[in-house]
C-alpha cells in the first residue's frame, strides 16, 4: 500500500475551512480514481515541543491509500485527481504540505 498524506496548518478561519473541507473537498477527494481508503485525522493536542520538522501542531492530516505507486500516480493525473488538486489549491494552497509514503501495517 502507498499513501498520499496531506498535512494542513491551522487556517485563519476554522469554521469556513471546516465547511469547505467537509462539503466540497472531502467528497472530491473520495472520488479519486483508485482510492482504497480515505482517513482524516483532526488533531487535538500536540504532546511534544516544536522541532524543525513540526514547528507547530498541524490542524488536520488526510491520508489517501492506494494499492501501489502506479495507482497513486494514475489517480493524480486523472480528471478526478486534478479536480481534487484544483480545489485544494484554491482553498488551502498555502496551508498544505503533501508527502507520499510506503505504508506498512504492523501485526499486533
Amino acid at each position: 500500500m502507498v499513501a498520499l498524506i496531506a498535512i494542513y496548518k491551522a487556517p485563519e478561519n476554522k469554521s469556513e475551512f471546516d465547511s469547505h473541507y467537509k462539503d466540497i473537498h472531502s467528497p472530491l477527494s473520495a472520488k479519486m480514481e483508485g482510492l482504497k481508503r480515505l482517513e482524516i485525522a483532526h488533531v487535538k493536542n500536540m504532546l511534544t515541543p516544536p522541532t524543525s520538522t513540526i514547528a507547530e501542531a498541524p490542524y488536520l492530516f488526510c491520508t489517501m491509500y492506494f494499492e501501489d505507486q502506479a495507482a497513486l500516480d494514475n489517480s493524480m493525473r486523472s480528471p478526478s485527481g486534478k479536480a481534487a488538486a484544483r480545489d485544494l489549491m484554491g482553498f488551502a494552497g498555502p496551508l498544505v504540505s503533501m508527502v507520499t509514503a510506503e505504508v506498512e501495517e504492523i501485526a499486533l
Copy 2:
C-alpha cells in the same frame, strides 16, 4: 477512533535508526495496551515546498489507533505504554513530534 501520531525527522544514521525501529521500538509499540491498529508510513517524497507546518520532509509517520481518548490515555499510563515511551525517548527523543487526533474514515 482516536490516534496517537508520531512524526519523525530524518535521523543522522538511517540504518541504525531503521534497525532499532524495526527490531526494538515497533514490537514494544505493538504491545501497547488497547492498541487497535499500528501503521507505519515510510515517507518517499515531499510534493510541496517547505512551509511553517512542515519545514522538511518527515522520515516516518507512526499512527497508533485506539477506541477512544480514555483507551489512549490508559495505554500511555500503562507499563506497556511507559516501556514504549522510554525506548522512544532513548533512541529518537529529539527527532519525534507527537500529536493526538480524532480519526474519521470517509466513505468512498
